[in-house]
């Protein structure tokens, strides 16, 4: 009898608590987003567009205050805490296991698509394209591939593909599109979906997070813009997955409760 009394209370708890386990299936299968056909090709070496891209990096770096450069260095970390300014002091990712796991899974799925796109166009980083571009040492170092490491090229090559032939493993990971900008935009779009009250602040932070890559001199503006296009198109595809929508709903419950917002 005692057990039966507890049952309604238990059900109430279950109803209020989001499921801790997320779907095992990927939200986005590798190749589901047709990056090769849907992203613009990056400017070619020595083209006027490439010169404009280089010029924009130099201008952005010149116009950046030391404070803005410090923000770019802090933004090198692809981490939810980078959104704390937009969501306020109650946004503590360590205390939101569902939100953190959900957005980690989204970032992982998105990251594999970015890898395919990077391997398609094999664009060198800005600091390799123009010796006047100097990233802060640590930011440049984070784009390096360990000497001797062999990284498999994941893009579709061969007849009918716009991709370049697979080259040898580069010394620095490819520039186009920007993985950080993709991460920032995907995360910002989904946080704004969960907390529409902070939509403006979240998108501004997500876009500024991408801009940090140009400030740092580790990406061209076109890398960042294509990262945003890619992010938006990938979230549109993820939204079509029932598992994704269920996990998003669970994350929303946890996030809004933690922020003291109505469900």
């Amino acid at each position: 009898m005692r057990k039966l009394y507890l049952l309604p209370a238990l059900l109430l708890c279950l109803g209020a608590t989001p499921a801790l386990s997320l779907s095992d299936a990927p939200y986005l299968a590798p190749g589901a987003f047709d990056a090769v056909n849907l992203l613009p090709p990056p400017p070619e070496p020595n083209s006027p567009e490439q010169k404009r891209d280089v010029e924009r990096v130099l201008q952005t770096q010149r116009a950046s205050t030391p404070e803005r450069m410090r923000l770019a260095q802090a933004d090198a970390k692809a981490d939810l805490t980078r959104f704390a300014d937009a969501l306020g002091p109650n946004f503590v990712p360590d205390k939101m296991p569902v939100v953190a796991a959900f957005l980690r899974k989204v970032a992982r799925d998105a990251g594999s698509v970015v890898g395919i796109a990077k391997d398609c166009w094999e664009r060198p980083r800005p600091f390799l394209a123009d010796p006047q571009i100097h990233p802060p040492g640590q930011m440049q170092q984070e784009t390096a591939i360990a000497p001797g490491a062999v990284v498999q090229n994941t893009a579709p090559h061969g007849p009918g593909s716009p991709c370049l032939p697979a080259g040898p493993t580069p010394a620095f990971s490819y520039s186009y599109p920007s993985g950080h900008s993709t991460y920032g935009a995907v995360t910002g779009i989904l946080l704004a979906n969960m907390v529409p009250e902070k939509r403006r602040e979240l998108f501004a932070r997500a876009w500024d997070y991408g801009e940090s890559r140009v400030v740092g001199g580790v990406h061209f503006p076109t890398d960042v813009e294509s990262g945003r296009i890619e992010a938006t198109a990938m979230v549109a595809l993820m939204m079509q997955s029932a598992e994704f929508r269920a996990d998003l709903a669970a994350a929303r419950v946890e996030l809004r409760r933690s922020l003291g917002l109505s469900q």
Partner: protein, 235 residues
Amino acid sequence: MRKLALAPILLLCLAATPAASLSDKPYITATDVDFPGLLPPPPAEASPAGKRDLQTILDLEKNMTPERMAAIQRDLDQTVYTIAGPVLGPKFTKANFPLVGAFIDKVEKDGGVGVGPIKQKYKKLRPFQYSKDVQTPENIAKGAGGPTYPSGHSTSGAEVALILGMMVPEKREALYERGWEFGINRITSGAAYPSDFEGGHIAATLAVQAMMKNPEFRADFDAVKAEVRKGLGLS
């Protein structure tokens, strides 16, 4: 008898000619993609991003030449012939390639379920309406009546690059350069911000991605691709 003898020839002709009419159903509807949830809000004019947006226009206008202004005026026409003509050559006209024009018009119209409501959601002023420093020719200012975000010109430029880039991969790079330039000309004229341009590119990509899942779009795409490649003398 004469009529019957002609029938096989007639059938042969029909089989070889791509369907001259497009689907009368929309390629996408408002429920297919959450455009309002996915597109970023445009930056406020007084925010750092908004100020950068305006400064970019002023910098572009400083370098204005008569040739650039002539190109801007030519690009007021939003058809595929004006957008892709400089890449595909002087034969790429409505008379020679009628189907691709109707197809891109339909893509732009159906894709309007994305751009249209977002323009009304934010009702952002055009750059020349916001700042007296922006120099916009009178005819362009008169024609740009609706809200600025996202840019319809940039959306069209990207839709043409996306679709023709898949039909004519031999010219993919040049089609994207031209499609992007079409949007940049709009910025240089003071009728759109760079953030409108980016919003247009995002809207175009979302629309084309969703359309490619529609079998009717794909059937029309194949028919138009056949017209374009045959007309350009490509295999």
